[in-house]
Structure formats: structure tokens, C-alpha cells
Amino acid sequence: MKKALVIIPNLLLIGFILIFIVRYTNSKVEESNRNAISEYEKMTVTVNQIITNYLEDEQHLCDIWSNYVNRSAEAGTPMTAEEAISYIRKAKISPEISGHLIFIDNPDHSGISTTESSVNPGDYSVSYKNISIFDNLDSVSDADGVINITRAYTNPMNGIQSIAFMNYVKVLDPDTGKLKTGLLMRVVPLSILEQKLVFLKGEYESIEVSIIDKDGNYIIHGKSLKNSNFFEYYKSYNNVTKEEYDSFRNEIIGGTGSMIIKNSKGDDCVLSYIPLESLKVWYLLAYIPMDDLVKNRVVDWLLLGIVSVGLIILLVFNFVVLMIYNRKLSEAAEKANQANDAKSYFLSTMSHDIRTPMNAILGLNEMVLRDSHDDTIIGYSESIRTAGNTLLGLINDILDFSKIEAGRMDIINVDYSFVSLLNDLVNMVQKKAEDKGLAFNIEIDKEIPSILHGDEIRIKQVITNILSNAVKYTKEGSITFTAGFEKKADTPDSIILKISVADTGMGIKPEDMDRLFKAFERIEEKRNRNIEGTGLGMTIAQSFLAMMGSHLKVESKYGEGSVFSFDLDQKVIKWDPVCNYEDAFRQSLNERNGYREKFTAPHAKVLVVDDTPVNLTVFTSLLSRTKIQIDTAESGDEAIQMYKNKHYDVIFLDHMMPDKDGIETLAEMHGLKETPNDATPIICLTANAISGMREMYINAGFDDYITKPIDPDRLETLLLAYLPKGKIAPPDDESAEDEVQIPDFVFDIPELDVGSGLGHCGSKQSYMLTLKMYLDTAAKNADDLEKFWNAGDLKNTTIRVHALKSTSRVIGALSLGEHAAELEKAGDAGDVEKLKNELPGLIEDYRKLAASLEPLNEADKPDPEDDTRPLISDDYLKEAYTALSEFCASYDFDSVAHVVESLSAYRMPEDEVTRYDLLVKAVDNYDYDLIPGILDRGKE
């Protein structure tokens, strides 16, 4: 795992936690701050009340003074100014508080003070001439309870900053004897008011209380609020627009609340404001620096820092632990890789070791198939081929699976003929099905486009796997292969190919469904242990389908059968419908030949290098009909020597060789200069067929590669690609096996399955010969059968029925063959009754089939005019008959057959034709005991 995949999520998590902490603590702090500010506002209200109470108290005392003076006047005994001051001097208790009686009408606003001047002892006169505190005297009310107060000013008598409470009094003017109005002032040092707020210091250490009038001028001036006007102060230190400034003013003198402003240092401060009760034109401001009111966030940062470091330490710790575990995992993975490498090596070795002998087996068997005309031998050979191919299939399954596991399996889309694909499938499966006595039904939608685009090989492999499984696991009944399609609305040039295979096999239990696609798992292993297979087929099929964007669907009922199906998107290249597949298949059968070389190249020279002589033999044999000149070498050194001396058009070089392997040999060849083979393509011949081998060989310098066992068709295709075009000639007509066509009436015989017969016989020529032989012997065999049955010879009857079974199956008369098989079993079991009931019917069917084939005799009669063979001489014919008699007498039947065959090179005189035909039939039917009689008839 990449380290980043561990670290990044951890860091994101840490980031998330830190952000959460910051946001959470911030929200808590903000909430706390809101609460603090709210408390602060409440405190302001309290202060407002305290101050108001105090001011009212002071005003009340002032009013008591003035009332006393005024009551005296009202009582007709007005006091003079001196008497009033004298009264106040006695009435006031606090020495700090003084009373001033001012006569506003005096130009210099002078009057008398209760206390003497601090600088001029004995002087009680006071003047407010230069102190402008009486601008709003009009608002001074003599009503009780109304606070009439000055701003803070300098007491002219002692220089102390003070405030004064005022009320009007009527005093007697001794000069005029009339009452005159004076302004009685209760002058209180500002410090007394400040002392009233001392209680705040415990909770709000740095609070400053100011009182302003509606213009912002300070009545009481807190020290931190600069300027003589609060609004000017606000404007000086808070960068606001005119609108904001106006809004601020309206808020302060119009409401109650708090706001945050900047002080002269640019720090945030909380300003709580409220109109003074009873003094609607004055406003209380409570100012405190924000930091002194709200919680300091340093604590939060400390928390954040500790959490950050803690999380990072945790991350590092986890990372180290993870690294340690990763290292152990790496070591384990390394071991696993080594084991996997060992597996690959094993697969490679196994592949090589199995394929090498398989090359010899299948290659030589191919030669047997090509060259043998003995049906028994051909039958054995076919069995070898089938078994060999099955073994190869198993190996290929394992190799495919290893490729899929390694992710090296590619889907290669090509244009393909759907009919051709069907042909291959049916050919591959039909025989197996019929061998097991299963009906193989094909239902093909006639409208399926004929040319599609897709990975033909993999599709074929998938369907083959399904069909093979169906055949394997179905004991009786049928297998139905269905192919249909749907047009795609969104992509008009594509179709959905719908494939399904239904069988009447054993079915799958619901609980086994999940295991169906697991590699190396075989359902009901014990029950199916006799069924060959690796358990990979379904896994591979499912993997291929997944790679092609599809999947295999299974519907199954245990004991009744299964339906495997899948849909596949396929691009359409040609919309021509496949039409009637049966016709097409029949046509393809007609066109199908036995082996025929693709080309001849008598002037081409090929060098093949392999340390196993039998492989060299196989190779040369497979190409014998192409007439290519083939040199062989059994070692790298020998090959290099030949490489230096003679030009070759293509070189096939085995990989695994002792002493000097193919890659080393190739490297040495490429290292040589100016040889006749500088431009010669060198193709690797290898039994290594596991994934990645192709890349390895191409990278090693090979031009191409072919695996062993050698596929003859691929070998010729490869040569066609690499041989110089000028050296390639069409196949010799002479070498064409035959141009035999199966007559149409044969296809029309319902009892015959031509495909099956062709499958058994390998070629049309062989099939036609077999059919002819079947026809020729039919009458006699039927008679013999009847004769043995009538004679009560059960043993020979059974032997004849066995022969009928075999020959019928070979020509594709499957139902007849099956019937014969049943009666054979009855014969073996001594079931006379069954034979009695059914044997006549079997013989009748046999004769009926033979009658259906009778046109073969008509068609087979050679036209003497067309026979260009030399007429046999009488001497040679006589010599041949003599030899036959002698060989028969000595039971040398091989020589008999050889002699009869040698006669086929000659045209017989008309009077000898019949005898010759009888001889051929006798040989073909192994009726050697008839030969002396045939020869004797001639003598007679």
C-alpha cells in the first residue's frame, strides 16, 4: 500500500478534528462572549440604576436645600443669600460637598460659596464667569425629583473636577428688599460619583463609565474615551462612512444595547449604552476593552496545539507500527510471489513437458490419419486424436486460467462468420453428443446477421465449454443449442446475441450454484469423479464473458436439467441473414474436405531445429505434402553451422534444448555478420504456452512463435505468412485427396446423419467408400443374420448384430445403430424374446437402408470410356490369380489384400470385371475364405 494512502487520510482526519475543535471552541467562546456581553449589558442597566439613584439622591438633597430656602420665602420670611448659604453650610454633612448660590443675572455669574477659596482663605465669593456650564439653564426645573445637573467642570473654589446639582431659590436682596432668583448648586466632586462605581472593579477591572449629552459632549468623561466629544472620538478611531456614523449616533442616543468599537489603540472594545433614567437627554456609556470582558482564546490555542501535536505523534506512531507490519507483509508477499513464481515455473515446465510428447503423439497420429486407409486404424487414430485433444484442452484450461489470473488475457475482436462459428461448435460437440446417444438440437434464428465483429475464439471457447459440460453431465435426453438476437435501439450497428444451451442432465442443486463458477471446484465431485475436467471450464467461461461485458446465467432444476445462457453485444458487419443453418451446415459439410495442404512450395527451404528427433520427424511429416525442402538440426551448434552455410526462407528454432538453448542460439545467429540468413525470419518452436511467453519470445528477438503440439493448420498459416510469395504455389491437383461429392439423395435418407458419418470417416471420400462398402455387404449380412437367427445360433447372431451396430454408427445410421446396440445387449443377456420380437424389424430396417443406398451402385459404375487405366495383360492377371490362390492357401491375407489392391491400377477386361469386384468385396469384407471359390469360378 502506498504510504500516501495511509498518511493522507490520517492528515485529513487530523485536519478535520482540528477544524472541529477550532469551530467548537470558537462557538463556545462566542457563546460565552455573548453571555459575557449580555451580562455586561445587564450590569450597565444596574449601573444606570445606581447612578440614577445617586443622582436622584443628590438632586433630592439639593431640592431639600432649595425647598427650605423657598419655603422660607413663601412663608414671608425670605432668607438673604448669606443666610441661605449659612443654612446650607450647616445642613451639608460632607466637607467635600459644597453649595454655591449663583446669581445668573450677574454678568460674571458670581455668588457665594459655602466653602472658602483654597488659595484665598476667607474668600467665599465664587464666579462662573469663564466656566460655560449654564448653557441649558432653561431646562432647569424647580420641580421635585427632576435632576438638574451640570457637566463635569472645574470647581472654581478648589480646582476639583466636580458636578453640580441645581435648583432655583428665592432669596432676599438686602439692597432692594426684594426677592431675587438665585441658582443653588450642590457641588459634588466627581470622585464621589466614581466611588459609587468601585463595586464594579471586582468584576470589571477596567470598566469606565461616561455620561454624554445628546451631542456627544461628555458630562462625565471616562479616561480611555479620548476627545472632548464621544462621537468625534468614535469617528477618529473607527473608519466608518457617513451613513455608518449617523447610524451609530442614532443608536447611541436612541436605544439600549452594546456594540464593539475600536479604541485609540485600534483594539476592540465593548461599549454598552443606555439612556439615563430621569435624564432623558443624557446617556450612560460603559466602556471596557474586549480582552478584559471576553475569554482569552490563548487557552483554546493551547488546547489546539496540544491536540495537534498529540495527533501527529499518534500518526507517526501508527505509521511506524504500520511500516513494521507492512514490512512483514512485504516479506510474506515476497514469499507468496516466490511461490507464485514457482507455480508459474511449474506450469511452464508441465506445459513444456506434456506438450513435447504430445507433439509427437498428435503429430504422428495426424500422419496416421492422413495416410491410413484402414478404418480400424483410423478409428484408433481418431480416438488418439480425441484423447490428445482432450488432454490439450485440460492443459489449455489451466493455461487460460493462469492468463486470466495474471490479467494478461486480452479480448481481440475480429470480423467473423457466424455460420462458420456455428459449424465449428456443432462439429466439436455433435459427435460427442451422439456418441453418448444424446439428441443434439440446434435452433438458430434465421435472421441472425452473417458477419459479426467480436472475439470469435473466446466466444467459441465459452460456448464449447458450456456445450461440453452439457454433454459431460447429461446421461440421456437431449441438448438444445439456441442462438437468437435482438436489435439494439441505441446502437443501430450492433445486436445483442442471445445464446443458450439447455440440457436434460442432472441439474444443479441450488446450494451448489455458488460453487459453479469457482475455480477448481467440481459440483458433486464424488458422483462425477468419472467425468473428466479440471473444474475450470465455467470459471474461464464466466471470466471471458465478463471481459466481453456479459455474464453467464444459469437456471437449473436438480434432476431435470439446466439452461445456461448469456447475452453478448456484437457489432454487425454484414446484415445478410444466416438463413437456414441446416442448409448452410449441409453445404459446409459438402465443402468440408479431409486434410489438404494449403499450398506447395517446392523451392522453399526451411530449417527446423529440435533436440528431439521424433519432433523433427513430426514436423517434416506434417509439411511433406507442401513439398518444402526441410533441413533438420538437433542442436543449436549444428543449426548455427547450417545457418552460416545455407540460405533458408524460414527457421524454426526450439527453445528448450540442452547445451545451447533456443534463445542463446538465436542471439548467436543474430550476432553473425554476412550470413545467407541475415533477413531470415526465425520462429520459436516451444512447448511453453503459459501467459507471457509470447512477449518473452518477441522480446528475445524471435519473429514469431508456435506452440507444440504443432497445430498443422497454424503451421501452414505461419509459413504462408513468412515464406517469400514467389515460392508459394497452389496445392497440386494430384495431391488433392478427392473431388468426391456426396450425392444429394444421401442427405435425404432420414435414417442417415451425414455429419456424424463424416465425423467418423474423416473425409467425404472415405465416407463414400464406407457407404458403398456398407451397401455391398448389406444383402449378405442381412441374409447371414437371418440365417443364424433361424438356425438358433444366438452367438453368431449377436456377433452379426454387433457388426451391424458398429457399421451403422460409422455411416451415421444412428437409430439403426442404437437399435442394434440394444439387441446386442439382449443377445449378450440371452434375451431371446426381445430378439424374436425386434430382430426382424432390425433386419428390415437394415435392408431398407441398403435399398435407400442402392443408387450408389448406379452412380459408381465407371464409364468405360472414362477409364484411362491400362488394360491388364492376361499374363499379369493369371499371375495375380495364382498368387492370390497361394497366399490364401498360406493364410497370408495381407498379401492377398496387397495383390487385390495392386490390381486396381489396371482396367479389367469385361469378362473379368465381375470376378474382380467380387475379390475386392471379399477383401474389404475380410471374407478371405470366399476368395478361392471366386478364383475357381474363373477357372471353370
Partner: protein, 429 residues
């Protein structure tokens, strides 16, 4: 990967360090080294007659950065001249108070003077050399009882952008002034020069006449003695100054009607200048101090700001005069509480940096030797020393200034003639 982890660790360490709390580093003014324990407390009160003294309050803040536990406050006293003595005698007497040179030697203020500390005492360590010598008043003993913190001058605010727009140069001689005014008038400026004219206090007539009168007396000790004695014979020395006032009005440089619409000698003078159509506004340096704060209050200036400066009025062909006079002085109450801390604050304040800073905030002329700290005052820094006049140095009394102030105002308004004014010297109040 190692780099990445290191980076994360460094970030986390940085966060951790931040989290451990940070205390603002103590910043000290360049050159100022605290002489006392910076944790020491104390309370310093400065009293004066300024309604606002934000420049000083800014210094309080700066001083608090060094001495955070010292409480400093400014208190405006009502009826300052009369009450100061009382306040100084009180129990809670201030530490520093506004003072004026005329208080010294005046019996009426003898009690106040008795509280003044001799600031020239070398033991105090005050750097008086940073102040222009002409502004420092020394008594016969060489003692310095008051220290200037602002100086004052007289001149005119010049709308430099308007001059540039009209393709004219700021005049530096009397004839250039006449020419420029004529040019402006021809281009529709009805009053190329303006100023306050509704009463004699800071009226433009006084601002024009006083420098001329002081210059006339500067090199005539006898005449100065007569003038200080309020001798009517000294009235003749006012004539050149009064003629200058009359010439400016009669030549059309100044339209009295236009000037009459300016309602006060401070804010309205500034706001009228900020209207942008007045090439030259006659005023004192004290008025200039209000310009910065009122830039934002003027809608016209906010919409169309322009470059302006304060220049001497070119009353002669040699140019104008720089009347270098203290505007505000501080004295230390030697009988106050926390005298050591008070002297520490004064030592902090009396420095080029702090005095310039305070003058910059207040926008008054700094008393230090460097006049270029504020571009508005740059023209005064270019005046040669022989045209710089220090009324305190030559001995002009306050009463003398009253004579020229009232005389020039009454002549300017046409209330009296120049001859009448000359003859009335000594009688103006």
C-alpha cells in the same frame, strides 16, 4: 516523505508555540532607554485648556507600551488661566500643566511659576537640543521652566492643484502675489485670497499684519521698547503692516464680502478652503492643525481631493516671514506625586520622534529642528533663517500683539483709517 513529515511537525510546533501564548514584545521608541523599572506604576495627569488633545493621548499610549502600569490622563480645566493656580495648590495637583512664557515674571502667576520645575537641570536628562533654540525661553538664570511642544506660525493654505490647473506658480514675492491674484481674478476667482474676518481673533488682517509688524520691530530695540510700553509713538511702526492689509483688500486680492461668509475662525475656514475654489486661505498654524481631521468631513474634498500646503504670505519682494512662536508649552509641577515618573514621561516626550509624532497628529508646526516631517509645512522649512522671527526671543509682549491685532482688524474692515490706527496705538483692547 521525510520532508513531508518534517513539514507537518514544524507546522504543529509553530501552532504549539503560538498556543503557548504570546506577549507583545516591548517596543521602545528609538533612542529612548527607560530609566525606571518598566513595571513601575504611577499616575500622571496633564491639565490644560485644550478641549481635545488626542495627540497627547496618543503619546500616553506610546508611553504605556514601555510603562504599561502608569496611568496617564489629560484633563481640561475650565477657566484655565484663573483656575490653574488653585488646581496646583490643591491636594490632587496635576503633574504637568500647560504654561506660557508670559506667566513668568508676572506677579499674578507667580504662584504658578513657583510650581514649575527647572527643565534645564542636567540631572533630568531632557534633550532640549532637539528643540529650535528660538522657541526655548530661558530666564536670567538660564533656567527653562517651560518647554514648547508645538509652535505656531502665520501664513496661508495654498491649493497646489488649483495653481497647477491654472498654470500658475505659488507666489514667493509681493509682486508675484499681486500678479497671481490678478490672474485668478481674471479667470473668475472673485477672491483669490480669503480668511476669517468676523472678529479680530485669528482674523486674516492680523495674520497678515503681525509678521510684518514683528519684522519691523525685530531689528529696532528702541522701537520695540516703545511698543511694549504701549507708547503711541510706536504706532508708526505698524504702518507698513497695515498698508499691506489695506493693499490686499483694495487690490481685490481679498473680497471682504466673500470672507464675511466664513462663520468661524477654525472649522469653517478649513471647510471653505476644502471647497476647492480658493487658491489661498489666510490662517494661522493652529487652523492648519484641524485640516487633516476635516478632510473626511468635507463632502467637496472627499469627492475631489487636492494637494495643499501651508506657506508664508509673501509680504515683501524678498518673500514672507516665518514667525516662529511657541503654540503650546508644558511645565512640570515639581510638587506633584510621582515626580520621577513624570520626568520620565517628559524625557520620553522631549525627543525629535515624539514631538514630531505629536505635531503630526495635531498637525501643528513641530518645535524640533526638522520641519519636513509634514509636507504641509515644507514651505516654511525653506525660509532662510534671517527671515525667521521669534517673538519670544526678541521680546514681543502679549499686549503688543493685541494692538496690532485689533488695529489691523479695524483697518481691514474699514472701521478706521491707517492714520487713525497709528495714532491709537496703545489704546486698543
Amino acid at each position: 516523505m521525510k520532508k513531508f513529515i518534517s513539514f507537518i511537525l514544524v507546522i504543529s510546533m509553530a501552532i504549539s508555540l503560538t498556543a503557548c501564548g504570546s506577549k507583545p514584545a516591548e517596543e521602545t521608541s528609538e533612542g529612548f532607554v527607560p530609566a525606571l523599572d518598566t513595571n513601575a506604576g504611577g499616575s500622571i495627569t496633564v491639565v490644560g485648556n485644550y478641549d481635545n488633545f488626542e495627540a497627547l493621548e496618543a503619546e500616553f499610549d506610546r508611553f504605556n507600551e514601555i510603562y504599561p502600569n502608569v496611568q496617564l490622563s489629560y484633563v481640561k480645566l475650565d477657566d484655565y488661566k484663573n483656575i490653574l493656580g488653585t488646581v496646583l495648590e490643591g491636594d490632587d495637583s496635576p503633574n504637568i500643566f500647560f504654561s506660557y512664557a508670559w506667566m513668568l515674571g508676572n506677579d499674578k502667576y507667580a504662584a504658578i511659576a513657583s510650581h514649575m520645575e527647572d527643565l534645564s537641570d542636567s540631572a533630568l536628562g531632557f534633550n532640549l537640543d532637539c528643540i529650535r533654540p528660538s522657541l526655548i525661553h530661558k530666564d536670567e538664570n538660564g533656567s527653562v521652566m517651560t518647554v514648547p511642544v508645538f509652535s505656531r506660525s502665520y501664513g496661508m493654505l495654498v491649493n497646489n492643484d488649483l495653481f497647477e490647473k491654472e498654470g500658475l506658480s505659488v507666489p514667493t514675492t509681493w509682486s508675484e502675489l499681486m500678479t497671481v491674484c490678478e490672474e485668478f481674478r481674471s479667470r473668475g476667482y472673485s477672491s483669490p485670497m480669503m480668511g476669517y474676518s468676523l472678529d479680530s481673533s485669528s482674523c486674516f488682517m492680523y495674520i497678515v499684519a503681525y509678521p510684518m509688524f514683528a519684522a519691523t520691530l525685530a531689528d529696532k530695540p528702541d522701537a520695540l521698547a516703545l511698543a511694549n510700553d504701549m507708547n503711541p509713538a510706536a504706532g508708526e511702526y505698524m504702518r507698513p503692516a497695515l498698508e499691506s492689509v489695506e493693499n490686499l483688500i483694495s487690490s481685490g486680492c481679498i473680497d471682504l464680502n466673500e470672507c464675511g461668509q466664513i462663520e468661524d475662525n477654525y472649522t469653517q475656514v478649513i471647510l471653505r478652503f476644502f471647497e476647492g475654489d480658493v487658491p489661498m486661505m489666510i490662517c494661522s498654524g493652529d487652523t492648519v492643525s484641524g485640516t487633516r481631521k476635516r478632510e473626511s468631513q468635507s463632502e467637496a474634498f472627499t469627492q475631489s481631493p487636492f494637494d495643499y500646503s501651508f506657506a508664508p504670505i509673501p509680504l515683501t519682494e524678498e518673500g514672507g516671514y516665518f514667525i516662529d512662536s511657541p503654540s503650546l508649552q508644558f511645565s512640570v509641577n515639581k510638587d506633584c506625586d510621582d515626580l520621577d515618573m513624570t520626568n520620565e514621561f517628559m524625557r520620553f516626550l522631549i525627543s525629535n520622534e515624539e514631538l514630531d509624532e505629536m505635531a503630526s497628529v495635531k498637525r501643528l508646526v513641530t518645535p524640533t529642528n526638522d520641519l519636513s516631517f509634514d509636507s504641509v509645512y515644507t514651505p516654511f522649512g525653506q525660509i532662510p533663517s534671517d527671515r525667521t522671527i521669534s517673538p519670544e526671543e526678541i521680546g514681543i509682549t502679549d499686549q503688543l500683539t493685541v494692538q496690532i491685532r485689533v488695529a489691523s482688524y479695524r483697518v481691514g474692515t474699514g472701521e478706521i483709517t491707517i492714520d487713525e490706527a497709528v495714532s491709537m496705538y496703545g489704546s486698543f483692547e
